[in-house]
């Protein structure tokens, strides 16, 4: 085995970091699924040194070489030293990406992945990472968290191992377009409320923080609750894939919010249509969220891309988008329906499986190429 040399992540200039960043750079926290690092190295071996913590939901990570999936594993609390490759032809540059599979966990204050550094062959070096000219931000729920992208169709537990960035339309889309990307997503959350009517579980409430989902003292120390510096990374496109949980709330029991002691519930009319007042709550949330997105991303095209698990909220979302457009005069937005998951393309616990994510990515790539002139 070759002799290895360790470098702190923050000391490596030839590195591409995926995912939102706050103030903390050493060790580097991987905050969202898809958050990760990419290097191009010569030398025969590459190792990554990291530290993780977690409680119920342990982080999973995945890694790829030259764009191809290679490994995926669970990381239990502690320090880890993972060999990403060894014994490779030393002079050939190898492009390696290592990334978090598990979404930012809103219910697990301990859950974190901290990358300390990399070890490479003493004769190897970090070469320039190919530039990603395009930038996409994906904002979503369990679909964008890759829930059910792993697991048998019959599996129904709600566990970390079933989520991923590796089998995920967002990652597939970004890779196909050779784009840098950010993922901000949370299973069960909506634009207005969660699948269970919980009004706290709305993405806009955490969007402006570095990783507002990650709470608790240790996450705060990492800067997760700091305001996110939007100027540091301005996307060309923002893909918003929200609505699936907002519609679900209409069919769920009322939710007693422990935060205010009040009960929340979205209602349907007797004929099954949405109660207009409740529908308007979603619409207000959409209008406000678009306003927030625009404020922070003045030039990005905002594409609301929805429909991988039914498209019942099409009329509601687009009505709100029209209101926002009318009010703001902002025409740099669009609505795009993603292909629905079919009986043949389901993954675990009634979520999109690999084939559904592939179909969504195919459609989205075609759409973004057209609309962005890419």
């Amino acid at each position: 085995m070759s002799e290895l040399v360790y470098s702190n992540i923050s000391d490596i200039s030839n590195i591409k970091i995926f995912g939102r960043l706050g103030k903390q750079r050493q060790p580097l926290p991987l905050l969202f699924n898809g958050s990760g690092i990419e290097v191009v190295v010569t030398g025969s071996d590459l190792w990554i040194d990291l530290e993780t913590d977690s409680d119920f939901h342990e982080p999973w990570v995945a890694y790829e070489i030259n764009g191809a999936f290679m490994g995926r594993q669970m990381l239990l609390p502690g320090k880890h030293r993972i060999c990403l490759f060894r014994n490779m032809e030393p002079t050939t540059p190898k492009r390696v990406r290592f990334y978090r599979e598990l979404q930012a966990m809103s219910e697990d204050d301990r859950c974190k992945v901290l990358v300390n550094g990399l070890e490479i062959d003493v004769n190897g070096c970090f070469m320039e990472v190919p530039a990603y000219e395009k930038k996409i931000e994906f904002i979503g729920d369990s679909i964008t968290s890759g829930e059910g992208s792993y697991g048998a169709i019959t599996d129904v537990d709600w566990l970390a191992m079933y989520m991923s960035a590796s089998v995920n339309y967002a990652t597939m889309t970004a890779k196909e377009l050779q784009a840098d990307y950010h993922l901000i997503s949370q299973g069960g959350w909506g634009v207005f409320c969660g699948w269970d009517n919980d009004p706290r579980h709305n993405i806009p409430s955490i969007y402006e923080k570095v990783c507002g989902l990650a709470t608790g003292p240790s996450n705060e120390k990492l800067g997760c609750q700091d305001p996110y510096d939007f100027k540091s990374w301005q996307p060309d496109v923002i893909v918003v894939n929200l609505g699936t949980n907002d519609i679900s709330a209409f069919s769920q029991s009322p939710f007693l919010n422990p935060a205010d002691g009040k009960t929340y519930k979205q209602h349907r009319n007797e004929d099954g249509s949405l109660n207009r007042e409740d529908e308007l709550k979603i619409e207000n949330a959409v209008v406000n969220f678009l306003t927030m997105l625009r404020k922070n991303n003045p030039k990005a095209h905002i594409a609301w891309c929805y429909g991988m698990l039914y498209c019942d909220l099409n009329m509601t979302i687009t009505e709100a988008m029209s209101k926002y457009r009318e009010k703001s005069g902002d025409t740099n937005i669009s609505f795009f329906q993603l292909p629905d998951t079919t009986p043949e393309t389901y993954g675990a616990h009634m979520h999109p499986g690999r084939k559904s994510h592939e179909a969504a990515a195919d459609a989205l790539v075609l759409y973004l190429r057209k609309i962005m002139n890419w």
Copy 2:
């Protein structure tokens, strides 16, 4: 060969007629693409007797046996006697559909297909045709007219032979759902104006007539310009696939309307976005058309299904639908985006080919099954 017995179409009670009907029943005019007849017969042979007329655009017809495509041909003006099958096992019932491939032609006063009758084996009989429990009305443009569904990808002539009902998402959807269906479509037309800004080329203007597209004395005699009796056939769903030409008009030259001597043109703003005033013309047309559809089809679910050739008008159509919903209180409408045609699925002259129609039908079948509880 067996001895054949002729029956007038109007004398055959065991027959299923597809497509809109006016007062004329003998000979039976097939007015739209997809308009046709279906019988289930015993006996060894089946012939159809018909008469056609045409000018530039000659009608094409197709026929199928037991649901499988068998033949397709051009019919030049005159009387025709076409053998649909012969020498088949006489006691086995054969289900046969014969239908028009060519859309109703708005530019060809002579174009028509008139079915006189059928000839069957003297020992055969007309058996009961399986009932079609579901009813769908498709309203569209060249896509629904199947333009380019036949022809090489390089073909650019605008000719009858490239259009069809046989390779057509509407037919595929209806067949998969075992549904009766009506097609009302015209290549180049929109909900507000034609692809070339011609304001006369809007589908609403002809919707309430039996076959308003077919003009001229002989067509009038057939009742094409009569008000259509909507009570005679109430669909469960109306699929409106319009908008592709309305968006096209924004990129075309002004149109000098010979009818009023005025010039018509939809404009884009300098940044490429739609001129709001012109966009609102489309929206008004959508609101008015939805109102017209609802008046004539009180119980039908109206699904605007759009997107097989880009989806640039999503925001416009849905804004109009929201206005209609707000104004009317009618919630029995929905918007559904059809899968876009890809480089791999184009047919002739940049229109959807077979694979695009198949993809659209797959998505639409899934959607209608869900929304209609089918």
Copy 3:
């Protein structure tokens, strides 16, 4: 309509004729499925004049424009004048192929398709037809006759309309490779005997005649029973797709041959394996047929391509091929297994459907490209 000018087929020098030819050139007989003519014409209109005869099994024909399928129809006895296109842009060259769908009929002495000539626009002309550099001869049974390539999966009649060259792996392969091709095939026939043990139904017995399958005085007059002039067309590859009926004979009742009053039957051993003596009859037939093919086609690569309906005869065919190779020293032969028809790819009466033919063509194209260095 433009003024038309008629030319005898034999007077058109810019024409490509597909399929075997005998002495008869005016009118031109289309002897096999896939036999046809191709022209590239300018002018607005193209018509074909032909004459057909038939008894029980009527010929079907199909035509395509610029490589795309356009029409398909039955032709009953008589003279026919078929418009292949009209009103097309006159200066653009149009490549048109017209061909026979129905196999040469061994049981119908009357069945024939005779092309008299073509009519084109007085201002149009016959341009040079693109050269087909590669030549493939396909020899087969019902699969190569396209049996069941049309028709519903439940259809079981044995009729002309279910056969085709248009939905046929041989045509698809030739088109994909831009190759000229000949088809010699007959449903139910084998290399040694027919599906029903009829020893007369073997392809080698007719291979050396122009169209040995077409018997009777009128066919003889057309030269069908003449020795075929192999020098007139030497293929680069011969694809032999035989064996499906030879294996079937082992499971069928004995056949009483009216020609010699003897009974014929291929037997299985008690354990289900093939009776060795009977198996050797097939092997002899294979060896002799390979010898015959080589004698007449000295340079062609001979690829036995088998397996679209099971591959039970793999061991038998390859053993015979080895014997031939050992005996002759001829190494310019190969065995290639075609993909089996699956439950999803069946057409009518348990024969390959469109998807099976497509899969076979995909595999065969890949194989021929490799083995022929194409």
Copy 4:
């Protein structure tokens, strides 16, 4: 976290072991790719304890839950304690398979995977593992070792990480048929010689030992070089996928065998055909191997399934099979060609990728169902 209880592998009666076994059961060596263990457990957590050693080529392992792939990782020398799942619903039985990804390594005396035991929840238990009624033995080369099933299409290193049982036609076939299976394979080896003409690299030479590929004192101690007890596991079918390297040798340089100081080389004739003498060496090897297989597996159907990387040896293999059949009278053998890898289905370093393995599995499943009456 729940309290865990450890059990030695040999103490667990409700366990299914995949892959060949020798005398050593505690710790349990996983000798081949696909070798592994399967349990069905209740309780919330499952851990596996193992020990690995290796030199250049480190073992990789993969695991699945309820039949779905979950993780895959490299194991460097040492003791490992891997959590296969945690926090699952405790009363629901979970079926878990853990298996070796890397082939038995013939060039790495240290390489081994030894499973010590499993830890389950104190409240959980090992339930009965579903019986696998069918048994298949796969014998092959790099294709069956899954070489290139992971990795980018441009990757050319020859490394452990590119091989797998998880993306492998053999595993896919066995799973689809719910069959138990054994894999005996080695990249670069043939039935007669290796890809580089090395005469020692032939599978028959190691077939009768437990894992003849694994040499050296420590492997001998594990019983790898012991005669394999064929009576312990009699397959219903043996799939032999060999020949790809034997044909390669004809295009490679001569090989100087250090074992005997002689040079070895398979030759082609000037016209590119195989030198008959050299071809007969392969045929002898095939005949002898079939004889060996039959001796050890009296009732198994032996299917030579070949062709995923060209099928140039079809004539040679089948000729040898015919010789064996003739000589032995054994008709319980067959030849089946697997679908070739296409430009769209390649994986890394010109080996079959995931789609090619899927296509091969689809074809093989269909074939085995027919031939075995499954």
